[in-house]
């Protein structure tokens, strides 16, 4: 069943690599306008799920849909309507900042003048305007990550898949990234992102806790907190405690 309002959808989705079940019978339904966080430790299957949803991997079983199109078979129908930021910074080291944007823009059939406009907009937004003609290899880690996000936003997609967009950033910059996400979300973009920083779950509209390829709990941050409080008797558990309680790993403090 395809629901037209679903932007990201998984039904009985399975992906195995040899003996490893990276994604294990997972169901997901994210509608237009949501900002959804996949939260879980490294190796939980977040990256594989995102790659399945954007058509970079083929499901072993079940269905992955993006904007209604079955992935990867029908990915050509939606290829210019979503933006993807891989976990690696995924920019060309030996191109300048502006040239990176030029290349990706051209792939999406944008005109050179339109790319120029968008480039100055995005570099302004990402606070990189003076770095436009610098080689990407000379940027700092945080700057590269901002460029990587700009590349995903360039063609103004309806849906965004961001794989660990804040990994390795200092807290201030991470906060700034989240401000961008909320702003984009308010402008109508549906965002699916993954993070292993548990407290970032607080900033999502809805959160899916993912462990060993399965969605173990799902809801708004408040809903998850209440569920965890009921289960553990803790007054006001923080997100780390919530995760540990709901994944059955025990109460915080018991497990490092």
């Amino acid at each position: 069943m395809v629901d037209r309002t679903a932007v990201f959808q998984a039904e009985g989705l399975v992906k195995t690599f040899g003996d490893l079940r990276a994604v294990d019978h997972l169901n997901l339904f994210i509608s237009t306008g949501e900002i959804y966080g996949l939260v879980g430790p490294s190796g939980a299957g977040k990256t594989t799920l995102i790659r399945l949803l954007c058509g970079l991997a083929t499901p072993t079983d079940g269905e992955a849909r993006l904007l209604g199109a079955r992935m990867p078979t029908d990915r050509r129908d939606v290829e210019d309507r979503f933006g993807y930021m891989p976990q690696e910074r995924a920019v060309y080291r030996d191109l300048t900042v502006a040239e990176n944007l030029l290349f990706f823009g051209r792939l999406y059939a944008m005109s050179r003048s339109r790319i120029k406009e968008r480039t100055s907009e995005l570099l302004e937004l990402m606070r990189l305007p003076r770095q436009a003609n610098q080689l990407t290899s000379s940027l700092s880690g945080g700057e590269k990550q901002r460029l990587s996000l700009a590349c995903a936003l360039l063609h103004q997609p309806d849906a965004l898949l961001l794989d660990e967009p804040t990994i390795g950033l200092d807290p201030a910059l991470r906060r700034e990234f989240w401000d961008h996400f909320h702003e984009l979300n308010q402008r109508g973009q549906t965002i699916l992102l993954s993070t292993h920083y548990l407290h970032e779950a607080e900033w999502c509209g809805r959160v899916g806790l993912i462990q060993r390829g399965q969605l173990v709990a799902e809801g708004t941050p408040d809903e998850l907190r209440h569920a965890a409080a009921r289960q553990s008797g803790l007054e006001r558990p923080d997100m780390e405690q919530v995760f540990l309680i709901l994944t059955g790993a025990g109460v915080a403090g018991g497990v490092s």
């Binding site: 991997a57 290829e79 993807y84 891989p86 060309y92 030996d94 792939l107 059939a109």
Partner: protein, 371 residues
């Protein structure tokens, strides 16, 4: 398939190279260096072979033999009065050959002609030779035979040499096409391989595959970029060849460039399919000698394929440069059109078709199933 996307990939590849000045300089210098180094060290001309010449007859005829030997660039002739033990000259004094014309050579020579065949003794030249280097020994024998042939009016045999290609073809003339092929194959294969492996390592590969770019457009983008580079490199090889070695090109330059670009396309395909076997840049480097060594050793570039042991010869025919050499030599030295050298032409076309097809399948694989 969109031309704009093909060119955007080509533009990106060229911009990347432009920013990496070391690679850029290397790309332009390599063809010049290869032409100069190979050209000078393998020009095929042996020179400065020390030859002792002892004339015990001293006639006009023997004088003309000496003149003929001295006019040969291969030899450095020392005229000695007499010799007791020629072997001593070779072993003790560093001569590589001793040529001795005995007393009465001239009279025997003419008597032989006057009397007719088989009845009398011939004029004989004694040659004592250091054969430890067979190539030098062969040069001496050929030089002496030439000198004997040159005895002028009434000489034993006259060979009338007709130049098939209008001019005398020297080693270097048929070497330039091989250098063109080698340099173009090397740069296109190695840089394509490195560039794609780097895309995998950096993750740009994933980003490219979720975009509207098609696999065919991706490969064609690389083909356009390296086709252009191949053209520039061929020009450098030819410029150095003409300026320094005065190479002669009999055929059509345009056809030569068409063939070089064809070969570059196949090499891009080869680099792409090798990229499937490497996950990191250091793994990719392992493939370099695998591409270079067979090309240099087995392609008939340095020595003819006929000089390669029969057992190894089938290997020569799986080395792409073998076909490129045949094709480019046919076009540049013999002045033929590409299809007039069917083995080389079809070989290169098959190389292109095969590598591009496999490369395309390989890209599908690495694009869709990267864990």
């Amino acid at each position: 398939m969109k031309l704009a996307r093909i060119f955007s990939v080509a533009e990106r590849v060229l911009r990347q190279l432009w920013h990496d000045r070391r690679v850029l300089v290397f790309m332009l210098l390599l063809p010049a260096l290869a032409m100069l180094l190979f050209g000078y060290s393998f020009s095929g001309d042996i020179t400065d072979v020390r030859v002792a010449f002892i004339d015990e007859d001293n006639t006009d005829l023997t004088e003309s033999i000496l003149e003929s030997l001295e006019s040969n660039d291969a030899f450095e002739i020392t005229v000695l009065e007499s010799v007791d033990d020629p072997q001593q000259l070779l072993l003790g004094e560093g001569y590589q050959a001793v040529i001795r014309i005995p007393d009465k050579f001239t009279s025997l020579y003419y008597a032989h002609f006057a009397m007719g065949v088989a009845t009398s003794a011939q004029g004989t030249i004694d040659l004592t030779l250091d054969e430890s280097d067979p190539q030098i020994a062969t040069t001496v024998k050929m030089g002496l035979a030439d000198a004997a042939m040159d005895l002028g009016e009434g000489g034993p045999v006259e060979i009338d040499e007709a130049d098939l290609y209008g001019v005398e073809v020297r080693f270097i003339d048929s070497f330039a096409p091989a250098i063109m092929g080698l340099v173009v194959a090397l740069i296109s294969t190695v840089l394509t391989l490195l560039s794609i492996v780097r895309e995998k390592v950096d993750g740009t590969f994933s980003r490219v595959w979720v975009s509207p770019l098609r696999r065919a457009e991706f490969i064609l983008g690389y083909v356009v970029a390296f086709g252009l580079i191949a053209l520039v490199q061929s020009l450098v090889v030819l410029a150095v060849g003409i300026a320094v070695f005065h190479i002669v090109i009999n055929g059509s330059i345009v056809w030569a460039f068409v063939c070089v670009i064809l070969f570059a396309i196949g090499s891009v395909g080869l680099g792409t399919l090798l990229s499937a076997l490497a996950q990191t840049e250091s793994q990719a480097i392992i493939f370099f000698p695998l591409v270079i060594l067979p090309s240099v050793l087995l392609s008939g570039m340095m020595w003819p394929i006929q000089a390669i042991p029969r057992l190894l010869r089938p290997l020569s025919y799986i080395v792409p440069l073998t076909y490129s050499n045949r094709l480019l030599r046919a076009v540049m030295v013999k002045g033929l059109a590409p299809w007039e050298e069917p083995v080389g032409f079809i070989g290169v076309l098959v190389f292109v078709a095969l590598t591009i097809l496999v490369a395309s399948a390989v890209l599908r694989q690495s694009a869709s199933e990267q864990a």
